[in-house]
Every structure is written in C-alpha cells, then in structure tokens.
C-alpha cells in the first residue's frame, strides 16, 4: 500500500484549517456533548449511530475492533470517525452503510463490506451528499455496490482507500469511486478493482487524480465525461474490461500514467472522444489491443509517451484535428498508426519508431527520410477485418514495400518528417 507523498498543498491546508475550527457544542439530547466518544462491541456505546447523538461538533468517534451491523449511518454534523484496527461496518447486502451530509467530516481506518445492490438507487459504502471539506482515507471497502460516492461535494480528499468489488456483471456492480457534480476533489493512492468502472466522473471540475491503481474492473478503469480541468498523474490502469474511456471534456492533463494489458476488441488503453486542448505526457501504453484511440481529440498535445507491444499503438480517427505527436516512442507494436482517412489532420515530429528503416547521414540523431507510420496492411485490415490473419505474409510485406515507395492507399501526408533515430528519453 502506497501512502500519498502529499496532498495538494492548497487542498490540504484548507482541510486542516477547517478541521481546526470547532464550533460551540450544541445541546445534545443526552447530556453534554463529548469531544471523544468510544464505540466498541462490549462498551457502553455500541453503535456509531448512538455515538453520533453524543459527540460534540468537531469531536471524534473512535471505533474499536468488532463487527457493526446497523441501519444506514447518517453523519449530519462535522465529526471525525476513526477506526482502530479496521472495525467492520457491515451492510448485510441490503443497504447503504454511511451517508455524509455535513461539512468537515473525516472517515478513516474503517472496513466497509456488503453494500446492498439496488437497481433504482445508487447505494454506496460511503456517500457524501452536498457536503464540503470531507476526508475519506485509509478505508477498506469490500463487496460494495458503489464504493465511495461523492454527490455535489466540494473540497474533499479521497485518499489511500482499498476498494474491491466481487460482482460478476455490469448490472449488479457499481463504480469504485464515483463523483457526480463535484469540484476540487483530491483522489490519491487508492486501489480499485472488480467494480463496473474503477473511477467514474460526471460533471466534475478541477479535480486531481494521482497515484491510484485501477485494475481488473468490469468496464473502464477510469471513465469521465463533462469533467473539465482535471488532471491525472501517475495512475495505473491495468487489465480493465474496456480500458479507459474519457469523453466530452476540455483541458485534461494526463501525465505519467500506465495503461497496460487492456485487451479485447473494444478495449482501449485510452479512448479519447471529443476531448479538446488536452495534454498527454510521459504515459506508458503497453500490451493493449489498441493503445490510444483518438476520436475528435482536437488540439491534443501528446509528447514523451511510450507505446510498446500494442496491437495498434495509435488509432487516429479523421475527426481528430490539429493533434500533435512529438518525441514519443513507438516500439514493438503490430501497427504503429492506423487511420480512417487519407488526409492527415495531425502532426508527427521527432518520434522514435522501431520500424523506421531510414538513415541519418549527418549523424544529428534525426532520420533524413520521413517515416510513414500507416502501413498498407493496416489499411487493408481496417477495411477487411479477417485479413488480419494474413499479417506478416510475404504477399502483404511485398504490398507494404510497394506502397512505401509509391503511396496509393495510405495517407501520403501522414508522416513524421523528423523521426528520431534513437529512443527518446
């Protein structure tokens, strides 16, 4: 388990300052409100619900080891709920476990399990509704329908949680971390597996997704729509049913992520659909059926990425305009680039291509002849799919060679005019 190197400084300071603000205790039904309430299976206070009626605003509830099974816990005042040695909150497979409706709530060190599955509402292990400054960290969620669900939340941190789903079908499985209409959230160091989508965003703004691992999910490792100005750094998306799909968003920044082993006919390392003005840097795409699929990725700036051992490293649809690919490495892919049009709307420059056969007479590290990454074979396969079986046949190799000399079917202008001779660091 990795611990986060640090929260975003701004967000962390904000959280701390708000946690420090203690508002005067209100009159509570049972005597004076307490700063610290202990919950244990054998003690005087045996449930978190009961503790919530006793604790002061800004106080702390310490949950001791044991299994707690209760109706849905509604946290409606700012408190810290802290588990000691992972006490278990069990949803018995029928209900949501915790709902947070107050600002400045901290939940940490608790094991949630067995959230109810419903088709009419999104039951979650922890659902935050219209609250600010929450911090959900170091929890373990097993067999959740949805794991952590933020609805109209702001300035929250979701850090170092381990979320494991076990449902076998899309319909009976929710998302690991689900954000809807939220902004300024930090999601860091979480591990999500076995859910429908590992991390799901819809209408989210200015959120940081760092150092998470999302693997073995039924559909997407990361899935977002209409979520502008978010950044994704150092995450690993591995072996998800359909890889990662992101759509209808501006100003996405993706840096240093790994997109690995997403295999299948509809699986993409990363699928970009209507994504504009975005930056893709230092990512590694390896072992995917399709590494990067760009459909309407306008003004995409992709540089210093590595594409290695993919079936198709880059599938570029003609709807992608003014994308630039600079200083990327393409090595050991069956096809480097395939496209559905003969015109090139994107620019390639200074990339390393392991298939490049040109020379460098003046030894400046830049190949003297342009490299055309679209092979005739990939055009043929795109048109007649079963022709994939003729891959590496002498016939297609001959056709490739002829096409390279005199392009007739491949986009003549789609070329790297200054290919790098060596691996770009």
């Amino acid at each position: 388990m990795r611990t986060p190197s640090l929260l975003r400084p701004g967000a962390a300071a904000l959280l701390l300052s708000l946690a420090a603000v203690t508002t005067p205790a209100l009159a509570s039904p049972v005597g004076a409100a307490q700063q610290v309430v202990n919950v244990s299976p054998t003690g005087p206070v045996r449930s978190i619900r009961q503790a919530l009626t006793m604790v002061a605003r800004g106080g702390t509830i310490i949950v001791h080891p044991g299994v707690y099974s209760d109706t849905t816990i509604v946290v409606s005042l700012p408190v810290t709920i802290m588990g000691e040695k992972y006490p278990v909150l069990d949803g018995d497979g029928v209900r949501q476990i915790m709902t947070v409706t107050a600002d400045s709530v901290t939940v940490r060190g608790i094991a949630f399990r067995n959230v109810g599955v419903a088709f009419t509402e999104d039951l979650a292990a922890i659902k935050v509704v219209r609250a600010r400054y929450c911090s959900i960290s170091d929890n373990r969620i097993d067999n959740g329908f949805f794991g952590i669900y933020l609805q109209e939340a702001q300035y929250c941190a979701v850090v170092c949680n381990v979320i494991r789903g076990t449902h076998a079908s899309d319909a009976t499985s929710g998302n690991g971390i689900h954000l809807w209409h939220s902004r300024d959230i930090v999601i860091q160091g979480n591990r999500v597996s076995g859910h429908r989508d590992g991390i799901y965003f819809e209408f989210v703004r200015a959120t940081h997704v760092h150092d998470n691992i999302s693997m073995g999910n039924l559909r997407y490792g990361l899935h977002f729509m209409f979520s502008d100005s978010c950044d994704y750094e150092g995450n690993t998306f591995r072996h998800n049913g359909a890889g990662v799909a992101v759509m209808y968003t501006h100003n996405v920044r993706m840096v240093g992520n790994h997109f690995t082993d997403n295999t299948g006919s509809a699986a993409y390392g990363l699928l970009l659909k209507e994504i504009s003005d975005s930056e893709l840097r230092d990512n590694i795409f390896s072992g995917n059926t399709s590494g990067l699929y760009a459909d309407g990725a306008t003004r995409l700036n992709a540089h210093h990425n590595t594409f290695i051992n993919n079936g198709w490293a880059l599938k570029l649809q003609s709807s992608t305009e003014d994308a630039t690919f600079t200083a990327n490495n393409f090595a050991g892919n069956t096809f480097d680039v395939s496209t559905n049009s003969r015109s090139a709307n994107s620019t390639f420059r200074g990339n390393y291509w392991s298939e490049y056969q040109g020379y460098d007479l003046n030894r400046d590290g830049v190949g003297d002849v342009p490299y055309r990454p679209v092979r005739l074979t990939s055009v043929v396969v795109a048109r007649y799919e079963p022709a994939l079986i003729l891959l590496r046949s002498n016939f297609l190799l001959l056709m490739d060679a002829a096409e390279r000399v005199l392009p007739a079917l491949t986009p003549e202008t789609l070329a790297d005019s200054a290919p790098a001779m060596r691996w770009v660091k």
């Binding site: 006919s265 995917n288 048109r383 007649y384 022709a387 079986i389 891959l391 590496r392 002498n394």
Partner: protein, 262 residues
Amino acid sequence: MNTMMKVLKYQARDAIRSRWLIAYALFFLVVTDALLRFSGDPVKAQLSLVSIVLFVVPLVAIVFGTVYLYNAREFVELILAQPVDRRQTYCGLYLGLTLPLIVTFVVGLALPFVLNGLDALAWGRLAALLVAGTVLTCVFTAIATSIAVKCEDRLRGLGAAIGVWLLVTIVYDGFVLLVLAVLSDYPLERATLGLMMANPIDIARVGLLLRFDGAAMMGYTGAVFLKFFSGSAGMVVATLALTAWIIAPIAFGVRVFQRKDF
C-alpha cells in the same frame, strides 16, 4: 528398414559435405547474428526472423531438394540395381535430404541466440521459430522429392519447384485477400481459417503470429483465430493439416518411384 538407414546415412553424409548446405548454415548464422547486433534486442531480431524464415526456408528446401536429387540420380540407379525395397530407398532419400537441412537450419538460427543469452519469452519465441522452420523444411523437401522423381527433365523440375514455392508463399495469400475483399459482406472468419489450413506456410505463419502479435490478435476477428488455435481442436487440425502436407507428397512420390523405369 535396413535399406532406408543405409541410404539415409550415405545421403546425409554426402549432403553435409555439400557447399550449399554450408552456405545455408552460414546465411542463418550471419543474418541472425547481424540482427541481434544491430537491433540489440532479441525480441526485435526474432520479429525480423519471422519473415526471413517463412520466405527462405521453403525456398531453400524445395530448390536445394530438387537439385540435389537430380544430382543423386546416378547413385539412385546404382542402388536400384540391387535387390532393394523401393519404398525404403525413397524414404531414405527423403530423410537423407531433410535431416541435414533441419540440422543446418536449427544450428544456424539458434547458435547466435544461445551465445547471446535469452529470457523466457525470447526462448519461447525461438522455439516457435525453430519448430516452424523444421516443419516447413519437412513439407518442402517432401514436395521437392516428389517433383524430382516425377519430372525427368531437370529444367522442368526446377521450374515446377519454384512455381510451387511462388504459389504457396505469395500467390495464395493474394488469392485469399481477393476472396476476403470480394466477399467482405459475409462473415468470413471461419472460412479464412479453412483457407489458412490449406497452405503449410500459412499454418506456420499463423502459429508464429499468435506468439508474436498477441495484442493485435485480441481484437474481435483476432479473437476468433486465437480461440481456434489456442484450443485443442485448433492444434489438432493444424497438426493434421501439416502432417497431410508431408505425407501426401511422399505417398505420391513413392507411388511414382515404385513404377518408374530408370
């Protein structure tokens, strides 16, 4: 059996001394070593070797085989002057030609890799390349032997050998692509598999593809192929098809050889 072993022994000894066979070994040694040195990456070198093996091995096996048997004609006439079983003689001739070719190929291809050292993945791929080359050698020497006994005229025989090679390496795949293009409205995945089974080079190539282009093969169409070949049914069918490609020319050759009046 005795006759076969004797013929085999003589033939093999003679073949090993042939300059052509030495050149063949040297070719693979030099090419493999050069690829390893220049790419610096065994996996990349092996990728280039896929095309080279699929192109060169059948060509050498069929051309060298045909020429060699024409040259051995006097020896064959001498043998047949003795009271020997013709079927055994034929098998001796075939094996005496095939085994040295296989040995030269395996040594030439594997030696640079062995000296260079490999990881597990590269070993698996090297093994696949060696198996593919070996099987292709068996198939194309079988065809070569039958051509050599069938055609009296050397020139016609050599022409037929090169014709067969062109047909299976290049023309056939062009024909398959044409079929796929013309009938592109139909689901052709299974039919394509059938077409592949009819050509030994395609069987070998597809076997190698599954090892070298795994990721691409996971796509929809690829998955159909992958499922077929990774299942036991696929292996059985592929093995049967390849065996048929070895047995059929030999059976034909033996028939001709038994009736031939030298």
